[in-house]
């Protein structure tokens, strides 16, 4: 008999306690974030989509080498005198035209390994994480400032320059035979030339 009334008392009191808890939650601050309208601020070291400031890129290929999944593809063409590759923002003279710089984000694993070796800090992580696409090809981002034609042009120029240089060298070689006997006097400089 005692148990019977104990049960009734317990049932009513526990139900009231539970109702009190839910009543309190009615007025609590909600945890929902209305995603597209409001967003969480990302932590300062978040790793999302990469961005390449191609103006600063000197074509050193260190990021390409560091990438564990080979998602970065770089192609460089040496700049010829007269067709300058320009300077980085820090004032460093660029030696190469970066004719191709693609990152395939369908492969990218967001390891951030490419960011650390970059000498000019031109490849970095951004806070963009909404870049899904309907076609896989569109995930291959092209960062190079050159169109394929321009790249072709640069290559042609380099070829031309190299040809001219070779011709010059040949001409120089043809013109040189007379002073050649005198050359052994300076073997060091000669070596250097061949090395470079």
């Amino acid at each position: 008999m005692k148990e019977y009334f104990q049960n009734i008392f317990e049932a009513i009191s526990t139900v009231l306690v539970g109702m009190g808890v839910t009543w309190k939650h009615l007025f609590q601050k909600k945890v929902t974030i209305q995603y597209p309208d409001e967003r969480l601020t990302l932590p300062p070291r978040e790793r999302n989509r990469l961005f390449v400031d191609i103006e600063d890129c000197i074509g050193c290929r260190q990021c390409e080498n560091a990438c564990p999944v080979d998602c970065i593809e770089i192609e460089t063409v040496k700049a010829v005198p007269g067709d300058d590759a320009g300077k980085t923002k820090a004032g460093q003279k660029k030696v190469f035209h970066v004719t191709k710089f693609t990152i395939d984000f369908s492969k990218c694993c967001f390891c951030s390994f490419c960011v650390f070796p970059c000498p000019t800090d031109c490849i970095k992580m951004t806070d963009v994480y909404e870049y899904s696409e309907y076609e896989r090809d569109r995930l291959k981002y092209n960062f190079s400032a050159f169109t394929p034609e321009e790249a072709q042009d640069k290559k042609a120029k380099l070829e031309q320059f190299e040809k001219e240089k070779a011709a010059q060298k040949a001409a120089a070689a043809a013109a040189a035979p007379q002073p050649k006997p005198a050359a052994p006097q300076t073997p060091n400089t000669d070596n250097k030339e061949t090395l470079s």
């Binding site: 139900v15 839910t22 601050k29 929902t32 209305q34």
Partner: protein, 351 residues
């Protein structure tokens, strides 16, 4: 003869149309409220996308249900299967007929008011059982059996509590009951009724017990959590409405919400003054008698919605009972207590 038929038809329409006009918007509102209450109690926001604060969410849901394919499986008993949702809705809709919304509007002012409501709302069981059987699905059948066991059991304490109230009020007519609780809040039956004597004060605790029992058993009658074992999504998928889709499912849903308001309305009339305002009327103050009727409608709907809210509150607070616990609660606790309560109330009333 033709004139008489016309009269009857017009009267039926006049009595039924406002009810329908109330039930539909109420169901839309209640579904929205339910989702918001559940969300808020779980620290979420609930529907926010359709309209301001998601206000049009239920309308969008209804449109979706209307567009959905109406699937009727091969093995179901087609006639009964199609008839069941209608029967369920008839049961809950018919109960509204005797509910006094205001002194100027009551569907049908019959002397057997509360008895009629008890009788007609039992029709819901028949509909649910019919749907469960016709679905030809074992989960549906389980749900139907559980519904039958539950509703039939819980009708006993409901009836006994109503009987004790009838003893106090001396009438079965719901309108007369409401009229008796007029003037101020202490004339409500939860506070011992309008008669000012020693009896009134002795009655209060017993009427309080009666109100709590009525509320619990009405919860069970409308299959709401914590007594929703007939639907029990996690145990038997959806119970009796497992096989239903589209508009037929919407009918079950509508009936459930209509039922929620019906039992809230009954508890309001029995214990909480019906359509009477707790503190006098603005219409009396401004000498505008026509305003009183509208105020009464407001108070009635307000009190009804309050109890609907409490039902939702309980739903999102308590877990579901086990079948044996459910039966134990009814047969070992509610029925004996309400019986003793009835005897005591009858005794006090004789004093």
């Amino acid at each position: 003869m033709n004139e008489l038929l016309k009269d009857i038809l017009i009267n039926v329409l006049l009595a039924a149309a406002p009810l329908f006009l109330w039930i539909l918007p109420y169901a839309l509102l209640a579904v929205y409220l339910e989702r918001k209450v559940s969300a808020f109690m779980q620290d979420r926001l609930g529907p926010m996308r359709v309209g301001k604060y998601g206000l049009l969410q239920t309308i969008a849901d209804i449109l979706k249900l209307l567009q959905k394919e109406d699937i009727t499986a091969d093995a179901v008993d087609k006639k009964l299967f199609n008839f069941a949702p209608v029967l369920v809705f008839i049961g809950s809709y018919a109960a509204f007929a005797a509910i006094p919304f205001s002194s100027i509007y009551i569907g049908s002012n019959i002397d057997l008011g509360i008895f009629y409501i008890l009788a007609v709302s039992s029709l819901v069981v028949a509909g649910l059982l019919l749907g469960a059987w016709a679905s030809n699905n074992k989960y549906s059948l389980y749900g139907g059996l559980r519904t039958a066991a539950q509703i039939v059991s819980y009708e006993i304490p409901t009836a006994i509590v109503v009987l004790s109230l009838v003893i106090v009020a001396g009438t079965l007519n719901l309108k007369e009951m409401s009229e008796a609780q007029t003037a101020n809040i202490f004339n409500w039956y939860i506070f011992g009724g309008p008669e000012l004597s020693l009896k009134k004060f002795i009655l209060i605790p017993f009427l309080l017990v009666a109100a709590v029992i009525y509320f619990i058993s009405s919860l069970a009658e409308v299959n709401r959590t914590p007594f929703d074992i007939p639907e029990a999504e996690s145990e038997i998928i959806g119970g009796y409405h497992t096989e239903y889709s589209g508009m037929k499912f919407a009918f079950f849903f509508l009936a459930e919400y209509a039922n929620m308001f019906a039992v809230s309305a009954v508890i309001t009339v029995l214990f909480f003054g019906g359509y009477q305002s707790p503190f006098g009327y603005l219409g009396n103050l401004l000498n505008m008698p026509w305003l009183i009727g509208l105020e009464q409608i407001f108070w009635f709907l307000f009190k009804g919605m309050l109890f609907v809210f409490v039902q939702m509150w309980l739903r999102w607070t308590l877990p579901r009972l086990r079948v044996d616990q459910l039966m134990a609660l009814c047969w070992r606790y509610l029925i004996p207590i309400s019986l003793v309560n009835l005897v005591i109330i009858a005794f006090i009333s004789l004093l």
